[in-house]
Amino acid sequence: MAVMKSIELKTKKGKCISVLLIILLSIGAVIQFLPLLWMILATFKTEAELTSAIPHVFPANWSFKAYFEAFSKYHIMDNFSNTLIICASVVLLQVTNSAVAGYALSKLKPRSGEFLYMMFLGTMMFSGTALMFPLYIMMTQLGLIGSKLALILSSSVWAYSIVLFKSFFDNIPQELVEAASIDGASSLRIFVTMIIPLSKPVLAVNILNTFMAVYNDFLYPLMLLPNEKDWTVMMRLYMMDKLGTIPHNVIYVLMVAAVVPILIIYLFVQKNITEGVSTTGLKG
């Protein structure tokens, strides 16, 4: 399964190489976490410590003041609830639509299916940045600027999700569906009671992808949500940094807080991701 054979590994040279490799990768893995660790430690430091020319790894006095300030004075919870509303709406809208569309294309095979699939796929070439300005003008015309709906609708479809769902459903044997249909189950019932329970990995991957894309999105909210009360977490971070008057430790608190939800979700679905990657057949 790998470049070096097990016989080679038993030789002295092979053993040396594999031990060296593990040491090297372990050092690398530790380095991966250092910036995050630094970020967490910074939340406990004072502003003077953070802007001193001689930085220290550990704070002189562990202080939770920045946390209290971030939540009570800077109301970062508002930004999280904005982000959550937007993310949940987009996930609900997009994943449901994509799953249903993927099922229709893969298992019901309408006559125009081929054409429609190409129509969806074609939009993968439209980068978000090419769509951004026309969408802004469109939303201005609709009077939706400053409404979360503008952002939700702008991110409501993603061809990639449909591709993932369709290729996953393609791997479910058609005979299975046909057998159920002969038994008298309607196509819709087959989808709900048979296909959905089989699709946990692809559902997880899609929910995660969509959530991440919306959570990390920064340019669209910047264009579409000018009012401070609607700002998402990422926008708030950018604005706090840009303003230059917010204490650094508060910014660090928001940074740490922004990582936590994503980390939790990832750890939960970690297994499904790798499964999803290998079952959707997209690895080339």
């Binding site: 594999s18 990768l25 991966q32 019901l108 070439m125 940094d241 940074m255």
Partner: protein, 299 residues
């Protein structure tokens, strides 16, 4: 059997057809409204001098495009995009490939290393960008402090034209991993074991096996990420905006960032859309060309 099904009576086929269209309808509507309409109206607007109150404004032919092709700042931005691409290729692109091959060699600890390298990469891009921005900060950043320990004088980092690109892409040289690693690792599992055995019989060394078996085995996914990288490089905007705002002296300003500034600062939407359309045409043409070339090479 197959032929018989096509003439299957009972209207099941028809019912399925109708159901499929009903299920697809919302998706079709959303795609038309929020993908096709904007892209077409964008190209349309690029031929107008926009008036946001009375859309689309006055027709002006190719004026916006001519303006872009005479705009020195636009050329600088285009050149900067190429520079971003070159730096990404040189400093970031190959890292997950190398890491995946190394991790794949560890066999028993493969899963744990994949997880360890994956976790830090889930941190949102803006968070990491800000963290590194403070790291490079000339007055109190960690970079100058560490350099001082080595006896080297302080540098301006992000404010230094010669160093700014290095600073931008250095993080991904240190913090490799993430989704790309997972994809490369998954692709590595699919290389037939026999190929390695055959190479071993032929007396191929480790490097030769990597060169002639491993890399060709994952070349499809490498190419996919390469294409995505081209597209991303031309659409770069947000990390530059956060990190340098296009500075120092416009040396990192990308086309989209320039367009963004035109839209938000000068309210010149038609010029912004024109530039975004040019980027769109470049990437579309580039992707199609790259696809053609690989098809030719594979024949």
């Amino acid at each position: 059997m197959k032929k018989k099904k096509r003439f299957n009576p009972g209207g099941l086929k028809f019912r399925n057809e109708m159901l499929a269209l009903a299920l697809l309808a919302p998706t079709i509507v959303l795609f038309v409204l929020f993908k096709y309409y904007p892209i077409i109206s964008g190209v349309f607007i690029s031929f107008f001098k926009i008036n946001i109150v009375k859309l689309p404004g006055d027709f002006c032919g190719f004026d916006n495009y001519i303006r872009a092709f005479r705009d020195a700042r636009f050329y600088t931005a285009l050149f900067n995009n190429l520079k971003h691409f070159v730096y990404i290729m040189a400093m970031n692109f190959w890292c997950p490939i190398l890491l995946a091959i190394l991790v794949d060699e560890t066999r028993k600890s493969k899963g744990i290393f994949r997880l360890l390298y994956f976790i830090p990469s889930v941190a949102p891009a803006i968070v990491m960008t800000l963290l590194w921005k403070y790291f490079w900060q000339p007055d109190y950043g960690l970079a100058n402090f560490l350099l001082g320990k080595l006896g080297v004088g302080p540098k301006l980092w992000l404010n230094d034209k010669a160093l700014v690109y290095f600073c931008m892409y250095f993080p991904n040289l240190v913090i490799v991993g993430g989704m790309q690693l997972v994809y490369y690792l998954a692709a590595l599992q699919d290389i037939p074991q026999e190929l390695y055995e055959a190479a071993l019989v032929d007396g191929a060394g480790i490097w030769q096996r990597v060169r002639y078996v491993t890399l060709p085995g994952i070349k499809n996914i490498i190419f996919t990420f390469f294409l995505l990288q081209i597209i991303n490089s031309f659409n770069i905007c947000d990390n530059v905006m956060v990190l340098t705002g296009g500075g120092p002296g416009g040396s990192t300003e990308s086309m989209i960032l320039y367009a963004f500034k035109q839209a938000t600062e000068s309210m010149d939407y038609s010029y912004a859309i024109t530039m975004a359309s040019i980027v769109f045409f470049i990437t579309m043409f580039g992707t199609m060309l790259a696809n053609k070339i690989t098809k030719k090479l594979e024949e």
